[in-house]
């Protein structure tokens, strides 16, 4: 009896019990589609983080005031109350570190913006004229403010797309005045639209003014929380990082055993950390989905055991008629493999469909992974063999005389 015939016999046996076969397969269908959908979500998140980081620019470095050491992880973006990163420090970085091409401080002021009878609450960020080049964020209309505007602390402002839409509703904002803290700022440019970021925040809900203006006119203090530094190339980021660290330690007169009172991070590290995070998330999601696949497999074993008991007489008939033990074993094993593989196939279709539907319904990016598909097929076949083997062996070991007598 060849394999093809055994497969046909197995198929026929399953078709005879459609409802049961369908319900048993459901476990595998849910498992496989869950694995595929979950891995797609994870991979999608990972890809979009990656894309976002690349759009920011991989030769970007962050210099921030203060040093935090939480669980061995240094992060300097928190407000530590230290006032140890100054404009002079940044000027020195620009002047003395050869691997650095551009520098901008970034000072935030949450403010109410008023234009005519419209108003809007947003962050006004004080930056230097190099900000659009460092962040690779071009101006759509008008222009960014200039070196001279920064030096003279001019009341000029560049706004994001969201602001332009909300304050001016289609009208050209260039040359108009926006009042920030009751001071009029002239709009000189509108930035290109960026859309939402990974967390769903609107990246176009922003306004930029010269940092000197923000420090003096809005905040009334000259501390710098964070600065963006652009290295001359991606390869130069690590050199730049260590050179900046050396320079700042020297300028802050830190002795060898004192810790840094600032933090320098580069985008490559952040990209790797983000990648690590999304990889962990993907594995976690896949594992949870994998558990449901395992449960599906146990469902198959359960049904196959019931089926063997229920069909004891059939097994007896087949054996009496001349089926070898191996033919009976193959029949039941193939039945369970057919169940799990058919379930797997439906699961793949469902999983891929889910992965394609998720961005539309939940707004999460997904990326259907070939590896997840191949992996689920192999896994569901393995489930079929693993959980089908014991019931199949049980069927094959039956004694035909006993089996025929079974009521």
């Amino acid at each position: 009896m060849n394999l093809l015939m055994i497969i046909r016999v197995a198929f026929r046996a399953l078709v005879r019990n459609k409802m049961r076969a369908a319900l048993t397969m459901l476990g595998i269908i849910i498992g496989v589609s869950a694995v595929i959908a979950m891995v797609s979500i994870g991979q999608g998140a990972s890809a979009s983080v990656q894309a976002q980081i690349e759009s920011i620019g991989t030769n970007l470095l962050f210099v921030s005031a203060g040093a935090q050491n939480v669980g061995g992880v240094r992060s300097g973006t928190g407000d530590t109350g230290n006032q140890n990163l100054t404009v002079d420090d940044l000027e020195a970085i620009k002047r003395e570190v050869p691997s650095v091409s551009m520098v901008t401080p970034s000072v935030n002021a949450r403010s109410q913006l008023v234009a005519g009878n419209m108003n809007w609450n947003t962050n006004v960020t004080g930056v230097s004229e190099q900000y659009p080049d460092i962040r690779k964020w071009p101006v759509a209309t008008g222009s960014f403010f200039t070196d001279a505007d920064v030096r003279t602390a001019a009341r000029v402002i560049v706004i994001g797309k969201t602001l332009a839409d909300n304050l001016y509703a289609g009208a050209d904002p260039i040359g108009q005045d926006i009042r920030v803290m009751n001071l009029p700022f002239r709009v000189v440019g509108v930035l290109a639209a960026k859309g939402q970021d990974q967390q769903g925040r609107d990246q176009d809900d922003v306004a930029f003014a010269p940092y000197t203006t923000v420090q003096k006119k809005i905040l009334g203090r000259d501390r710098i929380q964070i600065a963006y530094v652009s290295a001359i190339s991606q390869d130069a980021t690590y050199t730049a990082q260590s050179q900046i660290t050396d320079l700042l330690r020297q300028r802050h007169k830190l002795t060898a055993n004192e810790p840094d009172d600032f933090t320098v991070r580069n985008m490559t590290d952040i990209a790797e950390a983000a990648n690590e995070t999304s990889k962990t998330m993907t594995i976690l999601l896949a594992c949870i989905a994998g558990v449901s696949l395992l449960v599906g497999g146990i469902g198959i074993m359960n049904i196959m055991l019931v089926s063997v008991t229920e069909r004891t007489r059939e097994i007896g008939i087949r054996m009496a008629i001349g089926a070898r033990s191996s033919a009976v074993r193959s029949q039941f094993l193939i039945e369970s493999i057919v169940l799990s593989l058919t379930g797997g196939a439906i699961g793949i279709v469902l999983g891929v469909a889910l992965s394609l539907a998720i961005p539309a319904f939940l707004g999460w990016p997904t990326l259907v992974s070939m590896m997840a598909i191949v992996g689920s097929v192999l896994f569901s076949a393995a489930v079929g063999i693993f959980f089908g083997y014991y019931p199949a062996r049980k069927a094959a070991s039956l004694d035909p005389i006993e089996a025929l007598r079974y009521e």
């Binding site: 005879r16 008939i317 087949r318 054996m319 008629i321 001349g322 033919a327 025929l404």
Partner: protein, 274 residues
């Protein structure tokens, strides 16, 4: 000579006038013992059974329960092995064969008909009859053709696609007979084939057996506890206490075909062709 039937090859359905069976032994049991161990107790089911059944014979095996007739049937049917003694089936010593070897022997040389029909449920008559050929490795076209032919031989043309639950008991048993025929076995073993049937249907089934025996020279072993059913055979062997008590030809053999002519026909829609 024209009376020789090669059981391994297919024969045309109608060959008449082959009444004298030639003396080629199909079953040779030589001092068969079967002992079961149940816990600490040894049960001697068979205590030295010797028996020869020749090709073309129609033998009825009788005996009370516990007489050893079922054990004998299991051994003859290669479902079980003797504890001692030799069993030569169709020229081959099968007494010490492994489970798989016996499965192959059952597939090629033995056709089974059971009391409870033992058809696969939710499977058409045709597929049920095709089943033994599946295990023999017959290709699909030949399987189909031979199954149709076997169903015709038992008078079930037109019932090919019916499932067992759509057939009467007699029809189900005829499907089982067709199934037993289909691999051209050396021997058909029928275990209480009329046990679940009413008297008219019993006669109908016996008529098929007699016809197959007469026309195709098929060797038949029939296990029954009904003396009147045993009279359709040409030889009756009676078992008692694990031994053969008597073994003699049937003097006034009944002809099922003759009896059917005299029986009032109970016309139900399933019994149209006789």
């Amino acid at each position: 000579m024209s009376t020789t039937f090669a059981v391994e090859t297919h024969e045309p359905a109608v060959v008449l006038g082959t009444s004298a069976p030639e003396a080629r032994p199909v079953i040779q049991l030589d001092h068969i013992h079967k002992t079961y161990t149940m816990g600490d107790v040894e049960v001697h089911a068979l205590r030295g059974v010797s028996l020869t059944i020749n090709e073309g014979e129609f033998v009825a095996i009788m005996g009370a329960s516990g007489s050893g007739k079922s054990t004998t049937m299991n051994i003859i049917g290669c479902l079980d092995r003797p504890t001692r003694g030799t069993y030569i089936l169709d020229g081959e010593d099968v007494s010490q064969m492994s489970k798989d070897e016996r499965a192959d022997i059952r597939c090629k040389k033995i056709g089974f008909v059971f009391q409870g029909f033992n058809l696969l449920s939710r499977t058409s008559a045709l597929e049920n009859v095709e089943l033994p050929m599946l295990y023999l490795g017959v290709d699909a076209a030949a399987r189909h053709e031979r199954a149709i032919e076997a169903l015709n031989a038992v008078g079930l043309q037109g019932r090919e696609q019916n499932h067992p639950n759509q057939l009467s008991g007699g029809q189900q048993q005829r499907v089982a007979v067709a199934r037993s025929l289909v691999n051209h076995p050396a021997l058909i073993l029928a275990d209480e084939p009329t046990g679940n049937l009413d008297s008219r249907t019993s006669v109908e089934v016996m008529e098929i057996f007699q016809r197959l025996n007469r026309e195709r020279g098929i060797t038949l072993v029939l296990v029954t506890h009904e003396p009147d059913i045993a009279e359709y055979a040409d030889r009756v062997i009676v078992f008692k206490d694990g031994k053969i008590k008597s073994d003699h030809p049937v003097e006034h053999r009944r002809s099922a075909a003759e009896e059917l002519k005299n029986l009032p026909v109970i016309e139900d829609e399933d019994e149209e062709d006789e």
